[in-house]
C-alpha cells in the first residue's frame, strides 16, 4: 500500500502556532469583556473554531497527511452540525 512520507514538522512551526493559539485565547477573553450582547458568545466560539482548525491542521498533521483524513474529519463535523441543526428545529422554530 502506498504510504505517505512522514514529514518532520519543525519546532519553529509548532512554536509559532502555539503563540498564535495563546494570542487567540487572550483575545477571546478580551472580546467577551466588551459589551457585544449576543455577539460576544458568537465571537468567542468563532475564535475557538479558529483555534481548533490550527490544532487539527498543524498539531494533528491534517495539513501534511493524506487528504483522506482531512475529508473524514470534515465529514464527521458536517454530520455533527446537521444533527445539531435538526435538533434545533424542535427548539428554535
Amino acid at each position: 500500500m502506498e504510504d505517505s512520507e512522514h514529514k518532520i514538522v519543525s519546532f519553529k512551526t509548532y512554536g509559532l502556532v502555539l503563540i498564535a493559539l495563546i494570542i487567540f485565547t487572550l483575545f477571546s477573553v478580551y472580546v467577551t469583556r466588551l459589551d457585544l450582547g449576543n455577539f460576544s458568545i458568537a465571537a468567542a466560539l468563532t475564535i475557538a473554531g479558529l483555534k481548533s482548525i490550527l490544532v487539527f491542521s498543524i498539531f494533528m498533521h491534517l495539513f501534511y497527511d493524506k487528504k483522506m483524513y482531512a475529508l473524514m474529519v470534515l465529514g464527521v463535523l458536517v454530520v455533527m452540525t446537521i444533527v445539531l441543526i435538526i435538533t434545533f428545529l424542535d427548539y428554535g422554530y
Binding site: 504510504d3 509548532y14 502555539l18 495563546i22 490544532v55 434545533f88
Partner: protein
C-alpha cells in the same frame, strides 16, 4: 496475538487511521453533550450568563494556556523522535506530563472552591438559585469531569510512552504509538478549547 507472533503487522498508516476513527467516536461522545449544552443554554440564556459569573476566568485562561503548551510539547516530541533525539523526546514528554498534572491540580482547587461555596449538583444553595443555574452547574461538573477523566487517562498513556521511548520500543522508524497518543492529547485539548468559552466566557 499469540498465534501471530511470527508475523510483523506494523502498518503506520493503518494504526493512525484506527486512532482517527477512535477520535471521531470521542468527538461524537462529547458532541452529544454539546447538543445538551446548546439546548439548555437556549432555554435558560440569562441564568447561564448569571451562573457563568461564578467561574474564575483567570484559572480558566491559565488552564487553557497550560493545555495549549502541553499540546505543543507533545507535538514537538514526535518531531524529536523522528530526528532520533531520544533525550529531547523524553524531556518534551516529561514537560507534557507535568503540565497535565498542573492542569489537574488547578481543576482540583477550582472544584474544591465551588463545592465549598455549596455549588454542586443537588446542593441547597443551587436549589435557591433556580433551574438554569442548576443545569449550568450540572453540565459544568459533568463535562469538565469527563474531560478531566480524559486527562487522567492521557497522563497514564504519556507515562507508558515515556517508558517505551526509554526502552527504545519507540524509535525513529516506529513511532506511530507516540503519534497516536499525541492525536489523543490534541483531541483533549480541542474539547477544552470549546469548553473554555462555553463555561468561563459567557458571563
Amino acid at each position: 496475538m499469540s498465534e501471530y507472533a511470527e508475523h510483523d503487522h506494523y502498518d503506520h498508516e493503518g494504526s493512525k487511521l484506527g486512532m482517527w476513527l477512535f477520535i471521531f467516536t470521542e468527538l461524537l461522545f462529547f458532541g452529544g453533550l454539546f447538543i445538551v449544552y446548546a439546548v439548555m443554554r437556549y432555554k435558560n440564556g440569562t441564568a447561564f450568563e448569571f451562573a457563568g459569573k461564578e467561574l474564575d476566568v483567570f484559572i480558566g485562561t491559565l488552564n487553557t494556556i497550560i493545555l495549549l503548551v502541553s499540546s505543543a510539547t507533545i507535538a514537538m516530541s514526535i518531531s524529536a523522535i523522528q530526528m532520533e533525539k531520544k533525550n529531547l523526546t523524553m524531556a518534551l514528554l516529561g514537560v507534557t506530563l507535568v503540565l497535565a498534572l498542573v492542569f489537574l491540580v488547578n481543576k482540583y482547587f477550582e472544584w474544591g472552591a465551588k463545592i465549598d461555596h455549596g455549588l454542586y449538583p443537588g446542593s441547597a444553595t443551587l436549589q435557591q438559585f433556580g433551574h438554569g443555574e442548576t443545569l449550568f452547574f450540572g453540565l459544568y461538573y459533568f463535562m469538565t469531569g469527563l474531560h478531566a477523566l480524559h486527562i487522567v487517562v492521557g497522563i497514564a498513556l504519556i507515562l507508558i510512552m515515556m517508558v517505551k521511548v526509554y526502552k527504545k520500543k519507540i524509535y525513529k522508524d516506529r513511532f506511530v504509538q507516540l503519534e497516536n497518543i499525541g492525536l489523543y492529547w490534541h483531541l483533549v485539548d480541542i474539547i477544552w478549547i470549546f469548553l473554555f468559552p462555553l463555561f468561563y466566557l459567557i458571563a
